[in-house]
């Protein structure tokens, strides 16, 4: 049964109609056209759907939209609203750390959250934080280097 759900997405109040078993990821992509978050495994393993709910990264594919009523959701689109990239996003480009790009938005969300909490994470902390985001191009090294360079840039 569909019901109206109020969500605050990237700072904007939205009303969506969601079925009881419909995921946040489906609503973001199919109803709201926010296709930055990707559907990979749909089982919470790959991390391509990672978004922030109330400030914490979670799996969009394992979050039921109806259960997010009243929550604040940040997707990758919300990190650079005016087209001005975050240091992590810019560093990924500068480091050539994007191959096919499918994992990138989830990586950006996880890395962004880390740098919000900890201005100077070391390489181990970066790797641990990104361990829930799989890159099937296996471009991990450049991704970790890119996040480290955003740390050095000092303005997460």
């Amino acid at each position: 049964m569909s019901q109206a759900v109020a969500l605050k997405i990237n700072g904007v109040e939205r009303q969506v109609l969601a079925g009881a078993t419909q995921t946040l990821l489906e609503v973001l992509r199919d109803q709201l056209g926010l296709t930055g978050s990707k559907r990979g495994c749909n089982q919470g393993v790959c991390g391509a759907c990672t978004v922030m709910v109330d400030g914490r990264p979670v799996r969009g594919c394992l979050s039921l939209a109806a259960n997010c009523e009243g929550s604040e959701i940040t997707t990758v689109e919300g990190l650079a609203p005016a087209g001005k990239l975050t240091p992590v996003q810019q560093a990924l480009i500068d480091s050539g750390a994007v191959q096919c790009g499918f994992c990138t938005s989830g990586m950006v969300i996880s890395a962004h959250w880390l740098l919000q909490r900890n201005e100077k994470p070391d390489s181990d902390e970066i790797r641990r934080t990104l361990s829930g985001n799989l890159c099937r191009c296996s471009g991990y090294r450049k991704i970790v280097e890119a996040v480290a360079s955003a740390v050095e840039g000092g303005k997460a």
Partner: protein, 290 residues
């Protein structure tokens, strides 16, 4: 997707229990890490989803007067892992919580949801078993408390009856001066355990004064064996004693062959992982004494 499914938002445990009872195939939704994955895979088609998110009584960790802890069923793994309330050997629980899956999943998954699914390869069942925890179950007839040994019954099977849900997990005080350690062998970070060993250990004058050991991922339920613990207590935890205790646990285990490892491999790993866990626990004792 089942269009007929209802989404319900109870505000109390009693209301949630009534909703579960009123539907043929209602499922309580905790953090979603397991239930929604099953929905997405088409493995379940409940007629109602009863969200536990709005129930305040299910949240948070509270220290009890006797040194025990009451962990609300909706407490997320990330909260448990970061909690400073766990003392002595109770720390086996947050140590295990921090090794579940990965950061975004730890931000979602809850202790109640995790143990209700009771996959034998997950991290809480051995940790809670070693800690001597009890599970508080709420249902139509009120609440009851059962020890882990009576809660985890078989593969993916718990003592929960239809209409019941986990309300809280009670972790008793650990022996004074004990340490807790959770040793997990997995193929990669975030995977399920191939074998895990949860440990509450205390030493007094160079001899082991308390040992609570549970082995995970090596059978339908965690393995806790009084004889193995008795073998360690009073010893200096020398290699021979640990090999003997480990052999008893391996003998009592009932692992299967799966993608993560063969049953034979798991049996061989158990004594080694026990020795590794004990070494790590002893290192923590030295660290804490320093």
């Amino acid at each position: 997707m089942n269009d007929a499914t209802e989404f319900l938002r109870p505000r109390s445990i009693d209301e949630a229990v009534a909703m579960l009872a009123a539907h043929e195939d209602a499922r309580p939704l905790a953090g979603g890490a397991t239930l929604v994955a099953m929905l997405n895979a088409g493995l379940i088609e409940p007629d109602a989803i009863v969200s536990l998110s709005g129930i305040e009584e299910l949240r948070g960790i509270q220290a009890q007067e006797n040194g025990g802890l009451r962990i609300g069923a909706m407490t997320r793994h990330a909260e448990t892992a970061a909690s400073a309330l766990f003392r002595d050997g109770q720390q086996v629980v947050p140590h295990a919580a921090g090794q579940i899956a990965n950061m975004p999943v730890r931000n979602m998954g809850t202790m109640g949801g995790s143990i209700s699914f009771a996959d034998p390869a997950i991290d809480y069942p051995p940790a809670l078993t070693a800690a001597g925890a009890e599970i508080e179950i709420a249902g139509p007839g009120g609440t009851r408390r059962v020890p882990c040994g009576e809660f985890f019954l078989d593969w993916y099977t718990t003592a929960l009856e239809p209409g019941e849900l986990v309300a809280a997990i009670h972790v008793p005080p650990a022996p004074a001066g004990s340490v807790g350690h959770y040793e997990k062998l997995a193929r990669v970070s975030g995977d399920y355990a191939i074998v895990s060993v949860a440990l509450v250990l205390a030493m007094d004058g160079g001899l082991c004064s308390a040992a609570q050991i549970a082995v995970g991922a090596c059978g339908p339920v965690p393995i806790r064996l009084a004889a193995a613990e008795e073998a360690l207590v009073g010893s200096s935890l020398d290699a021979e004693t640990l090999a003997w205790g480990g052999a008893m646990l391996a003998e009592a285990s009932d692992p299967v062959d799966d993608v993560r490892g063969s049953a034979d491999y798991r049996r061989r790993v158990i004594p080694r992982l026990l020795a590794k866990a004990v070494a790590a626990a002893r290192a923590k004792m030295i660290e804490e004494a320093a």
